[in-house]
Every structure is written in structure tokens, then in C-alpha cells.
Symmetry: C2
DNA sequence: CGCGAAGTTGATTACTATCAATCTGAGTGG
DNA sequence: CCACTCAGATTGATAGTAATCAACTTCGCG
């Protein structure tokens, strides 16, 4: 078994100083924002460290800002009636969190850092005001929002109708693709989240996830040791 | 058992002549678009009948337009590897379909009419161009997109972790809320979709859905006959 | 070195899928 | 107008998968 790659290092190299520009240009967009817009944006940004286990925002908080992930990894989760944790999504460098708040006026889930993270908090008012005068930013916003819609629909396909093993594999593959989209070697990586959190996302129990890992490993489809994963077989989406 | 209410009639009364204005104002938004914008929008709209069973757009089609539902009911579905139908979402009057295409450049699922429907097809380019000059439209677009994100997250909560019966009940309740948001009496309604389609959405088999209906009825929680449903008990979301 | 959190494995139970038969109701044509 | 037909829906019996409960292992950390 090889050593895990230094994913964190690679990821943080990928992100350069100006996180907004980065999130918008490198990940979401082709078009670069002009410098005047960037300067104004910078003025309204609050850059904030979010240590592992802490939250960027909480379910029910009234909506005010969007959160651009500059570094780290988040889960978006909520508790259901039985008190079980239900994970609605995972977010990594370049993703934007809190988009559902625009329409609802409140965040609908907790954004919990599963790694030590850094977010850039931008008041939505500021973003909107700037986008009134900058078509490039406006376009960027449309794409950010649309990308979230697209990603969510993919997640829903994943959750419906696949048995545990295939569901886990699809999840790993999806993660791998997201790493790849950020220019990181994607066939081997360190999972940022626990079995419990994966289970919460996939609608399974932790034990089932663990067994699925074991089975996929035994079948030679993946290589896994704790949180380190190699995807041996490349599988179409 | 009472007769089904004339839901279709009520729904179509709710929608008046200008569907764009309607979708944006009555359902998504508080702010009304100004007349100049509306006139320009009207020029680029294609109003189209979509009979039951036919599609508004298809998975893989290259993205060009958004689809505002003026009348009727759609399912957004795709086939998984096993050839089973996976329903990603349902959409009714006032909803906007195709939003995922903005980022992807292509639609990611089929939009199939489950009732005879009417859609207003608006080229995204036109919408975007107009929104550069009309802040109200821009704001409207943000809210439309955000609302879709919010709705999808709710669906994901629904899919994960609930047993069949509760999952079905949650689904019925969610539908009821969507009717209520459109000003339609919401405790009794006619389901537009088949058991098979509900199953596809909930990640269950048709037989399981049918049994869940029977059980909920037997327990006095709902009243159901074929596609007609009354929700007896009002339940918190 | 021992403690605790995360992860694995085992045995059993509970739920859902599957396969098959039957029922219901809307639409059709004689 | 009624029998026929067929898709949608329901019900039953059984098999398969995941949940649950419980024991145990691994690893990081003071």
C-alpha cells in the first residue's frame, strides 16, 4: 500500500491569495472578473478560520452572506426527527455554501468543518449590488447557483435506487471527479470525513458503509485503509 | 369518500395571462418586474403545449433555454444503469426547469409532462441580457435558482434515512405545501403522477409505495383512493 | 501505557425487493 | 349499453439486503 499523497498541500497550492477570484475563475468560470469589481469585493469580505468540528453557519440562522471555501472541507448537515445526522452534501475548496438562503431567508442546515478550514464570508447584499453593475459577476453568480443545482441532482441520482456497495462506489467516484476538477490527482486520496458522515450522506448505517468498503476492497475494485482510498478501476459516471 | 376537488381548474385560474410575470411575482417573488422588461421578455418567449407523456427537453440536449411551467405538471427523470427510471424531481405551475443547464451546458435529465401542460420557453441568453439592465429581473433569477437549491436539499433530507411509510408521508406533505404555496386548498388533492413515478422519486419499489399508501390509510393518517389523497393529520414538516 | 474515538466484524432481526397473482377502472369497439 | 382489454394498482409469499445490537480491533494521543 502506497503512502497517501499530500493532498492538503496540493489543494492549498491550487488556491491562491484572492479566494473570490479563485472560486469564480478557476473552478466555476471561464471569465475573469475585472479588477475594479475585485477590489470592491475584497472590501466586503470577511476571511475566517473554521477549525475542524466548528460551524461556519447554523441551520435556522437568518441569511446574510455566502461562504466561499478557501481551504478545507465542509459537511452540510441537519438532524432529522430521530436525532440522526442527515448529511445533505459535502463541499470543498472553491465551493460556495449558503445558496439556499437567498430564497429562504435562512440557512437550512449546519455547515460544519470536517477539516481545519478557511472561508471567505461575503454579504449577499454586497455581491448582489456589485453584480448589478458587473455583468461578469452576474454571470458568475448564475453559474455558481446552477452548479449547485446540478450537483444536487447528481447526488439525488446517487441516493436513489443503488444498493449499498454501488452507492458507496458512486460516491467515491463523484469525490474523485471533484478532486480532478480542481486539478488534483484523483485516483488516490484521503477521505476528509468519517464513516459515520459518509453513512449520513448515503442514507445508510455506518456499519453498512464499513462492510461496503471491505467488500469493494476484497473484490479488488478499490484499495482502502482507514481513510486512505485508491480507486483501482476507473468507472464511467 | 368525498369527490376530488377540481384541482386543475383552480390551478389554471391561479395562473394568468403573462406566465413570466406570474411565475416570478406570485410564486418566487415579491417584487414585480417593470413593464419594459416584460415587453422585451414576451418577445423572446415561445409558448408551447406539452401533452401528457411528451418531453419539454431531454437529457443531454445542449442547453439553450429555461422552461417556466405555465400549466400542468412535470417529472424530471433519468434512467440509471439498470434501466430503472430515477425521478429527480417534480415540478408544478410556477416552477422553472432546466436550471442545471446554465453551468453544465446541457440538460441532465428528461422533463416529461405527467399531465397535459404548457411551458414558456425563454432563451437563457435573452434572460441574461435583460437581467444585465434590470436589477429586479436579476434578483428574480437569483431567487429562482436559490429556490431550486433549497427544494433539492429538502428532497435529499426526504430520501435519506426515513422508512418507506414516513418517506411517503413526507412526500405527500411536501406536495401539499407546494400546493398551499400556490394558494390551492392543500389537504386534499389528486396526485398527478403514478405509483411507479412516486417510487422512482422516493427510491422505493412501486409495490412498497402501494403498501405504504394502504398502511397510512389503515392507520387513519391519510385517506386515499387511487390518485386521490386527503391528508387527515397535519404534520410538522 | 492506557484511554477513547473511529472503525471492523459477527449474529440476528426487520424491512424492502422481487416474483407472481389478482383487482380496478378507464377507454374501446361490437 | 355492455363485454373486452389493458395499464395501473393492490395484495400475497418469499428471498435478499441493510439495520440493529454487541463484541472486538486499531490507532492517535495524553
Amino acid at each position: 500500500m502506497e503512502m497517501p499523497i499530500k493532498l492538503k498541500k496540493v489543494m492549498s497550492n491550487y488556491v491562491h491569495a484572492n479566494c473570490i477570484d479563485c472560486a469564480m475563475r478557476d473552478h466555476c468560470f471561464t471569465q475573469r472578473l475585472d479588477n475594479a469589481t475585485l477590489l470592491k469585493l475584497e472590501a466586503s469580505i470577511t476571511r475566517r478560520r473554521v477549525p475542524r468540528g466548528e460551524i461556519a453557519y447554523s441551520s435556522g440562522d437568518s441569511f446574510g452572506a455566502l461562504f466561499f471555501i478557501h481551504e478545507g472541507f465542509f459537511k452540510e448537515s441537519d438532524l432529522n426527527d430521530q436525532g440522526e445526522e442527515c448529511v445533505v452534501g459535502f463541499h470543498m475548496v472553491g465551493d460556495v455554501m449558503g445558496l439556499e438562503g437567498i430564497a429562504d431567508g435562512a440557512y437550512s442546515s449546519d455547515a460544519v468543518a470536517v477539516q481545519d478550514s478557511v472561508v471567505c464570508e461575503i454579504p449577499f447584499q454586497a455581491l448582489q449590488a456589485l453584480s448589478f453593475s458587473d455583468p461578469a459577476l452576474q454571470q458568475a453568480m448564475y453559474r455558481i447557483l446552477s452548479r449547485e443545482v446540478s450537483q444536487n441532482k447528481k447526488s439525488m441520482m446517487l441516493l436513489g435506487s443503488l444498493p449499498a456497495e454501488e452507492r458507496l462506489l458512486a460516491f467515491l467516484h463523484s469525490l474523485s471527479q471533484q478532486y480532478a476538477a480542481r486539478g488534483v490527482p484523483a485516483s488516490a486520496f484521503e477521505l476528509p470525513m468519517s464513516r459515520q458522515e459518509i453513512a449520513g450522506f448515503l442514507g445508510l448505517q455506518m456499519e453498512t458503509v464499513s462492510r461496503a468498503f471491505t467488500k469493494l476492497h476484497a473484490d479488488g475494485i478499490i484499495n482502502v485503509r482507514r481513510r486512505y482510498v485508491e480507486i483501482e478501476t476507473t468507472i464511467a459516471a
